[in-house]
Amino acid sequence: MITSAQLKALIEALSATVAAHAAELTDLDSAIGDGDHGANMKRGFDAVAGEADAISAKPEAEALKAIGTKLVMTVGGASGPLYGTLFLTLGKELTVSPDDYPAALRRAVDAVAARGKSAYGQKTMLDVLYPVAEAVEANKSKAEIVAVAHDAVAATRDRKAIRGRASFLGDRSIGHIDPGARSSALLVEAVAGVL
């Protein structure tokens, strides 16, 4: 069970890494999208951070749902309902089976795929989230999980985008890292730094 203090530190770490990398995320999105992924993520996690006290006072599962709802309501791009669904589903699953983090994460990533009508390998955030879920299930160390996430980001470079705006570019999306994959790895790294 994650404590209230950990929740607060988590929210701060997530919003800090998003803010620190907003320009990078925007640049990645400018290359193969509409150049707003940094601003979208920052809007969302700033809003979450703005309610850090109220959210972290809630029980773990409720806090995760509150983060998800906030992201859904504030991000404004495709990544909003996707990351929102990730946190909302984590909260729902942990309500049903408290402490079974690997199963909750797996279900949450499946829910993101359902929300996006997408799958692993299409050059999206799922290309990071699925390997991370697997590493968590395999009980890998935090350092290993973070390494898996960053490797998974790098692996999006050679893929052709099949979902999201980058898919409009067809073959020209090859050679670029997916912005949502990168933000996923940043979030994973922030979580690993706190828990």
Binding site: D36, R43, G77, S79
Partner: protein, 129 residues
Amino acid sequence: MSNVGIVIVSHSPLVAEGAADMVRQMVGDDVPLAWCGGNPDGGLGTSVEAIIAAIDRAWSENGVAILVDLGGAETNSEMAVEMLDPARAGKVVVCNAPVVEGAVMAATEASGGASLAEVQATAEELSPA
């Protein structure tokens, strides 16, 4: 009003408002109609909160058809529908159709008293399978 309602969701508030003007020109006030566009800061994008509010403004007991432009507008609209009261959510569909042309066609169909399924099918005829 008992006709099916129409909601227009675009990344651009200008597109959404202009499409609503075109709809009004075809159907007048015969169809509940609302639009939204822009992310929560007003830039290009969409807002789940604004979509929920638009569904509310265009509410009809016979259902509401949402027309969206690109990816994020669709995902955010689907999210908005799921966040509705379940009794309402079952009466709202996100059409797989072009936003401007679909809105005009869907509203024209709705103005004749068509069902939600008919309105959706009319809009979606404009889209490749």
